[in-house]
Symmetry: C3
Subunit: 367 residues, 3 copies
Amino acid sequence: MIDPSSLVDQYCHGILRTELGLGTFEAQLARTEGPPAPGTTLFDTQTGFAVRRWCPPLLGLEPHCPPALYLARRRELGFLEAGRRLLRGSGITTYLVDTGLPGDLTPPDEMAGAGGGEAREIVRLELLAEQVADTSGTVESFLANLAESVHAAAAHAVAFTSVAGVRHGLALAPEPPGPGEVRGAAGRWLGDRRVGGELTDPVLLRHLLWIAVASGLPVQLHAGLGEPGARTDRTDPVLLTDFVRATAGLGAHLVLLHGYPYHRHAAHLAGVFPHVYADAGAALVRTGARAATVLAEILELAPFGKILFSSGAGGLPELHVVGAQLFREALARVLGDWVAEGAWSPDDAQRVAGMIAAGNARRVYGL
Amino acid sequence: MIDPSSLVDQYCHGILRTELGLGTFEAQLARTEGPPAPGTTLFDTQTGFAVRRWCPPLLGLEPHCPPALYLARRRELGFLEAGRRLLRGSGITTYLVDTGLPGDLTPPDEMAGAGGGEAREIVRLELLAEQVADTSGTVESFLANLAESVHAAAAHAVAFTSVAGVRHGLALAPEPPGPGEVRGAAGRWLGDRRVGGELTDPVLLRHLLWIAVASGLPVQLHAGLGEPGARTDRTDPVLLTDFVRATAGLGAHLVLLHGYPYHRHAAHLAGVFPHVYADAGAALVRTGARAATVLAEILELAPFGKILFSSGAGGLPELHVVGAQLFREALARVLGDWVAEGAWSPDDAQRVAGMIAAGNARRVYGL
Amino acid sequence: MIDPSSLVDQYCHGILRTELGLGTFEAQLARTEGPPAPGTTLFDTQTGFAVRRWCPPLLGLEPHCPPALYLARRRELGFLEAGRRLLRGSGITTYLVDTGLPGDLTPPDEMAGAGGGEAREIVRLELLAEQVADTSGTVESFLANLAESVHAAAAHAVAFTSVAGVRHGLALAPEPPGPGEVRGAAGRWLGDRRVGGELTDPVLLRHLLWIAVASGLPVQLHAGLGEPGARTDRTDPVLLTDFVRATAGLGAHLVLLHGYPYHRHAAHLAGVFPHVYADAGAALVRTGARAATVLAEILELAPFGKILFSSGAGGLPELHVVGAQLFREALARVLGDWVAEGAWSPDDAQRVAGMIAAGNARRVYGL
């Protein structure tokens, strides 16, 4: 049985600090535009079925028990105790936490406490820029404060993450924007903007990416499925090819998050460019019983030293559990089959499992 | 053994009312541009092999018997009796029939009679518009008659279907065209048009879609593989994202037909938008022995309440048989494996099988 | 056990005529932009693992032995003897060799000698044009010499191959460029060009394709993964649809090489157009333990008389071995499973295996 001894979750979020009912729980199972269609429920999805498979036993119930029974037990324990049991049952030993989502989510130190592991922060670039904009009076102070904030974040964070693909699409001009261009874009954005306004300007998104790359910290780029209603084709990681080439040799790693349904494209880039890495994570939580196949598709072109586990989970600790369990089971099945067929040696399989589960992340993020 | 008790074919055509020889039968097995290459035959395809597997036993022959033997037996029985035996052997209990294909095909009532089941009509929007154009003298009368025809069709049909993606591509402007724009486009089209001329104008294609949506009936959109020589990338359902968002909340369901090779994209849209549904059908007939995998790929992101079986068959009743048998076998294998692995409970698997085979279609089409 | 008796490799290159160390050997395992990332090795890829599985036994070692041990044994035998043992162990009986790659690679006659089989030449169109440009003084002489060179090559070569997709992208205007357009483009290219300069002008790339098509020889078009840093989406074979239609009925076969990750699209074109063929080759070498799945994906839509084996190998004879072994094993597994499930008959499976392995290539290339 191939089973890695530790699991570094290279990308997740905190969990909700509120008690959940059946409806509010269900709404966290998928990212949709609008409520479920009449006559349907989000429990009837791969994610819903995976939650019902893996989580009830961690709270003392039978696998696949009805959602209402599970939610009743969860409330009986309280969200704090349920969260503690679930996270500790996930097998994740280190959480890298993107703190850039809205909502009452646990920060990294609480994730570490609840999960009985370590936690480090990932800083979301666009949120950082929006926070700087909220407190900067002029274009000059905004740009100076932004540079300083990225520099300061680089001192404590373990990585930056960017949702430029979701905000604008990944077909960004590959070179860094010039100083005049950046000042012009900043002026227009700050002039039009109300407090809390989102950053979607492509010049500023590129500027952010380049100052993040210059910091030397790994930069995680969202690709493939992202915001529910976004045009998925605009986040095909192949669109990043020229940006990736432009950032080669500068010392920063680029990590392509999610990827699905373009995960084979992400794996290809990880194979071609030394500084590019592919995620094997969020896609598994979404595809449930199909996780082994999706993982195997990533393993086609991506060198084994370039693949990193994540859960992509947030909101519900159930999603951390599902992400970790599906990954572990998929890894054991896929690599185990290859060993059984004689395609891989048992030693190689065990070694590669450890790399994808934790070793590659430790090297890339300097853990 | 997971096996749904009834099967609603949400999209098919009638069958040919003529006796067929080896060559005319072969030509119906695939949609190509030109005859098979020298030295090859369309029987050497997944569809051809699937027909040879499933159909000979229904006519009293061994599976995989040579095509010539099968055709001889088919002619011996006569196309009427052969069609009756085949359709009744398919297990399909309800046929939703797109009556918009040319050729001497059985209408819905004959499908019901031959198949021993029920049948309802699906109205093809572009054909309706062409028929209205053939009998309308002016732009004003064309537009008025079109609105009336759609309204009248909505009273008896079970759904509309659109081949706008095949005619123009799915990258249509998402909003409804303005009245002046529609009148201008109608004037140009009617002015240039001879009787029977095809509708390809994007403004009129959009106008049609919007009046169909306004009728409240489900609208089926062809996506993925369609006309043999069409640019497949122009029918990627992801191109519909903005149109889908624009039609949310109006009360009409949108059903993405076919989808393959972009069926994962169609499944994603079905997961995100409450009013979008994904087809699990025509792709199976085309991919034969690979049907279980293609079905499983659709089951990754599409909620189980949003997937609808179809055969996509037409011309040959053999294709209805193959569509139904491949679907049933694929469903039993895919869900059965997940139950065997512990990923799904047996009860859930049986329930989901019934939903995809018939229950979802009954709800969406009000059967 | 389904196993074809002979194997025609419809697309490969010669092998290096130099002794290799661990680093120079590793660099041949993948096409990358830059050396492997620190802490990673190209041996930790599907190709690396497949080489370690299949090749050591041909040199008297255990499968999966460490790379250093393998390389030591290889040097001990010498590259000539090692190459001879490997090629003869591949099972390939005929090599169609693209002679258009740079480097000290064995020409076809040496491949035949070392491999104990036959070999024929494939002429790379762009290299031919560059060689003609190196020795032509004027636009008129260049164009006349080019036509003559293609004509002369057609007399001895077995096919032409084009990398227009890699050089420019496959979204080429479908019709042949006019004479004035060609002269203008040739004038600009020859005027700017230094000896050895690459041909990337889209007008001249199209001109080359059309004179190759006119020669009547099969034309192989690179699609999908090609040069490491190329924008993969620009080589999606679906972009060729209009060019394919424009060349229908002219007598020349078009063979879509590689295809992956768009191999389902290539298979679709092979299914629609009588003169189009799909490759089942290079993708297997890259995807290793996943070869059976990738082959099965090609077998979804491509008629079985339209699929051709290749190794796509070059540089290392190990890649010819891996290409052939992965293909043979994948074919036996995929078709064997379908026979076991009752989907295919044993006779059909054996017959189709022979077609894909050798028969189709013999017919298409007139071997």
